[in-house]
């Protein structure tokens, strides 16, 4: 039998004849709105805007079955999770940030080429030749940091409210994976600007891969990750592909598993309202239900507006993504650090275990048995990750209430404290020893911005105050019209004279004008060589004077001296 319409399709003409044109316009408008909203008719949209309660049956749940985007959202929430506590909206914010990162990331991708020859040049083009380029880059970077923070806090919140317990163990496990992907997503993007900061941070970060036991496997892991023994063209391309395709896809997939489980078991209620094992999603009493449309949807839109405002205003006025000098594989900056969220790993690699043995005066274990880099850099973080993944399955405490979870809460706080301490240990402020003269030079004029000292004190002097001449810290006579120069020279004098490793130390500061608009600033430090507190004498019986020098150039327009 031939397929045919049960009745002739009404033509516009017939409709108008039958209903009159006003009604026909309304009917078609209504149909359009219903299609766009995936099931909410025009009159109902009007009711939503007027804040009226839905009729029964509620037409506002239709989009949850009709629309692709909304079918994953629950059609109502428990009233107890619609306030700031207990969710703090951290999961929602993480997802929003992922979307914003995707959009700004695609914008940046248009102007970026992943090759060591031109990657840095791409960054310069984005900053000096692409309208909104800097804003997009700053939002992307600020959003990345915010996403790491949001995901970490989300995990901590879930731990402290015990939301990970039965039946939500698997949701937690996927969440841990999402945290790992977020960290690696951020970390893989770190390398792309190809400046000194990114190159060395990633070199440090990936150096742990090499320590994967056994050594043969470590070499292979390192080769797969970097594409060569050291990061170069192959490594940059690999990190680029990880950053723009592989990790986002993986994260997207695991995110849907995670969110499916969240909806499946319902958002967990505050601990005192829900026992372990309860599946809240299907047991919300009618009077506690808050419909997604319009209440939750409006809330979520508000959070989105607030987040975008935070990122745009923050990136425009308060935050500049750093861009240092071009990556130089032959020149390691003095205080190189991993990104802040991996500083705890760097702290582990300084090996608190060996430091403790040393402090207690106990012998060090032989290197054949205890390899610090393998144990602290690979095995221990691996165990921590494994523990986090299976933690909910090991937790037999049947209560979610805070007063029944004292041990778990204390353990959580100890974990946060340990993380903070290790992060501090990872910074160059802890147990990084270079010679005293190098530290002074680094503090006053690092060749690259330093994590501890920033651009250095010399670069705070305005160009006009760099008055050519030679200044001796033993007899300072700085020019009267250069207060900032005088101040920095005074600081240098105190710094050197107060350093016990630089006995009878002094500095000669020489400022020369090399080209109009370009000055050379040289600090030469002199001190008496000592051994066991006694000056070392040369064959003629005179004390040996050691010397250490560094020079930098300062251009009028390079933005130093700015406050």
């Amino acid at each position: 039998m031939a397929l045919r319409w049960p009745e002739p399709i009404p033509t516009l003409q017939k409709e108008i004849q039958q209903y009159g044109w006003r009604r026909v316009i309304f009917m078609h408008l209504d149909e359009l709105v219903t299609r766009v909203t995936a099931g909410i008719p025009l009159t109902e949209v009007r009711n939503i805007i007027r804040g009226e309660p839905p009729p029964r049956p509620n037409p506002r749940v239709k989009p949850h079955t009709e629309s692709f985007i909304l079918h994953i959202k629950p059609s109502f929430y428990h009233e107890a999770v619609t306030r700031l506590y207990p969710t703090f909206r951290l999961g929602l914010l993480s997802f929003y940030l992922f979307l914003i990162e995707t959009i700004t990331g695609i914008f940046l991708m248009i102007f970026y080429t992943p090759s060591p020859l031109v990657a840095y040049e791409s960054m310069l083009r984005i900053l000096n030749n692409v309208p909104f380029g800097q804003l997009m880059r700053d939002i992307h970077r600020l959003g990345a940091e915010a996403m790491v923070v949001a995901v970490m806090l989300h995990m901590l919140r879930t731990f402290f409210t015990a939301s990970y317990k039965r039946p939500r163990q698997f949701t937690w496990a996927t969440g841990v994976l999402l945290l790992v992907f977020t960290l690696f997503l951020s970390f893989s993007g770190y390398l792309l600007p190809w400046d000194q900061l990114s190159y060395w941070a990633v070199t440090i970060g990936t150096s742990m891969a090499e320590a994967t036991p056994p050594p043969a496997l470590g070499r292979i892991v390192n080769l797969i990750l970097r594409g060569a023994p050291d990061i170069g063209a192959a490594g940059l391309l690999r990190f680029y592909l990880l950053h723009v395709i592989f990790l986002p896809l993986l994260l997207f997939f695991v995110f849907f598993v995670h969110y499916y489980k969240v909806v499946r078991h319902g958002l967990s209620l505050p601990p005192e309202m829900e026992a372990v094992g309860d599946d809240t999603a299907r047991k919300v009493p009618p009077e506690k239900r808050v419909p997604y449309i319009p209440d939750i949807a409006i809330q979520e839109a508000l959070w989105g507006i607030a987040l975008i405002a935070f990122l745009v205003i923050g990136a425009a006025f308060f935050f500049d993504a750093p861009l240092e000098q071009h990556a130089d594989p032959l020149n390691t900056p003095l205080h190189t650090t991993a990104p802040w969220y991996f500083l705890w790993l760097q702290g582990l690699l300084k090996d608190p275990f060996l430091l403790a043995l040393d402090r207690l005066g106990l012998p060090q274990p032989p290197a054949t048995i205890y390899n610090s880099k393998t144990f602290m850099g690979v095995i221990l973080p691996g165990l921590i990750l494994l523990f986090l993944l299976i933690m909910p399955y090991l937790d037999f405490n049947i209560s979610r209430r805070y007063r029944d979870r004292r041990k778990a809460l204390v353990a959580g706080l100890v974990g946060v404290a340990a993380w903070t301490l290790l992060t501090y240990m990872g910074t160059p402020a802890f147990a990084v020893t270079s010679s005293a003269d190098v530290e002074v030079l680094q503090e006053f004029m690092p060749l690259n911005p330093d994590p501890l000292y920033g651009e250095g004190r010399v670069r705070t002097i305005p160009y006009e105050q760099l008055i050519p001449g030679t200044y001796d810290t033993r007899d300072l006579q700085p020019p009267a019209d250069a207060p900032k120069l005088a101040h920095v020279l005074e600081e240098l004098k105190h710094r050197i004279e107060g350093d016990p490793h630089l006995p009878q130390g002094y500095a000669l500061v020489r400022i020369q004008e090399i080209q109009p608009g370009l000055k050379r600033f040289e600090i030469a430090i002199y001190w008496t060589k000592t051994k066991n507190g006694q000056p070392v004498l040369d064959p003629e019986g005179k004390p040996i004077i050691e010397e250490s020098k560094r020079a930098i150039y300062l251009h009028r327009d390079s933005g130093h001296g700015g406050e």
Binding site: P131, F132, A316, Y553, D557
Partner: protein, 293 residues
């Protein structure tokens, strides 16, 4: 004052307006910001270039681009004058590219500019593309630094008023002061031309160390032996005369020509060093060298 929904609407409106205004402000100032960034980056490139220049270039072209006789020509204003000369001959490239290519690929052959000068070594290739040590971005920085001289305008060449000894061996010399000769050698005092003596750029005082020319350790003793040697072709009768001849007319006699000749009969040692010196400078230098027994 307002209920929750109204407060939320007001808050969201304020935040949206703030976002739109911020984007508008960025839009309006974007041109200036990009120009400012470009100027700042150029300044940083000049700073980097200056460090590279100090590290790689200054030994041959002088710390301020004034050149080192016998090692490298002046760049300021030499490189700009050279470019003008080339352009007059129909060279079609830009000044920036001329400088960049000269650094990156070196100078495999002598150029016609400053043709009267003799340099010990050809300009090597510097770019990693041609087997040198520098990355492309470093060369760009260096070019920015060199171009910054032109932005400053060529420095007026000092017009020295002194009588140079040149290559004239007959002129009588005043008594020499070995102390001042040593200071000249160490570049602590300048020659009459106002430039530092460049001897130590090529000659070491450590026995056996060859920089470009031979070590001058023990030159006084050696000079006495040289003038007795059967293959010696010069006119010197005393060690002092031998040293004087070597400075003023290095081509008169080239020991070990396979090592120290730039071409047959042409020493690597520049023939015009005398143009920088007064008779007193020459006498002092000889006096100093004669102390190296």
């Amino acid at each position: 004052m307002f209920d929750l929904a109204t407060r939320r609407i007001i808050g969201a409106t304020v935040l949206m307006l703030a976002t739109v205004i911020t984007i508008g402000m960025v839009w309006l100032t974007e041109e200036q910001r990009m120009a400012r960034f470009e100027a700042m980056h150029k300044a940083k490139a000049i700073e980097n270039g200056a460090l590279l220049y100090e590290q790689y270039c200054a030994t041959c072209h002088g710390p301020e681009g004034e050149g080192v006789p016998g090692k490298g020509p002046d760049l300021n204003p030499g490189v700009f004058q050279h470019y003008e000369q080339l352009k007059a001959q129909g060279y079609a490239n830009s000044l920036r590219n001329f400088i960049k290519l000269s650094i990156a690929a070196g100078r495999p052959i002598r150029s016609t500019y400053r043709a009267e000068e003799v340099y010990a070594e050809a300009m090597p290739t510097w770019s990693q593309d041609f087997g040198g040590p520098m990355r492309p971005d470093e060369i760009e920085n260096l070019v920015e630094f060199i171009l910054n001289w032109q932005a400053a305008g060529p420095a007026p060449a000092p017009t020295p008023s002194f009588e140079a000894v040149g290559s004239d061996l007959t002129k009588s010399l005043p008594p020499g002061d070995p102390q001042r000769g040593q200071a000249l050698w160490n570049q602590e005092v300048k020659q009459a031309s106002g430039m530092a003596a460049s001897c130590k750029a090529c000659h070491s005082l450590k026995p056996g160390e060859v920089l470009v020319g031979p070590s001058l350790a023990g030159i006084a003793t050696l000079a006495a032996e040289r003038i007795q040697a059967p293959d010696y072709k010069g006119q010197a009768k005393t060690p002092e005369e031998y040293i004087r001849e070597s400075i003023q007319q290095p081509n008169a006699y080239i020991p070990e020509p396979d090592k120290y000749a730039a071409a047959p009969g042409v020493s690597k040692m520049p023939a015009n060093l005398g143009n920088q010196m007064s008779a007193q400078d020459l006498a002092d230098l000889i006096a100093f060298l004669m102390t190296l027994k």
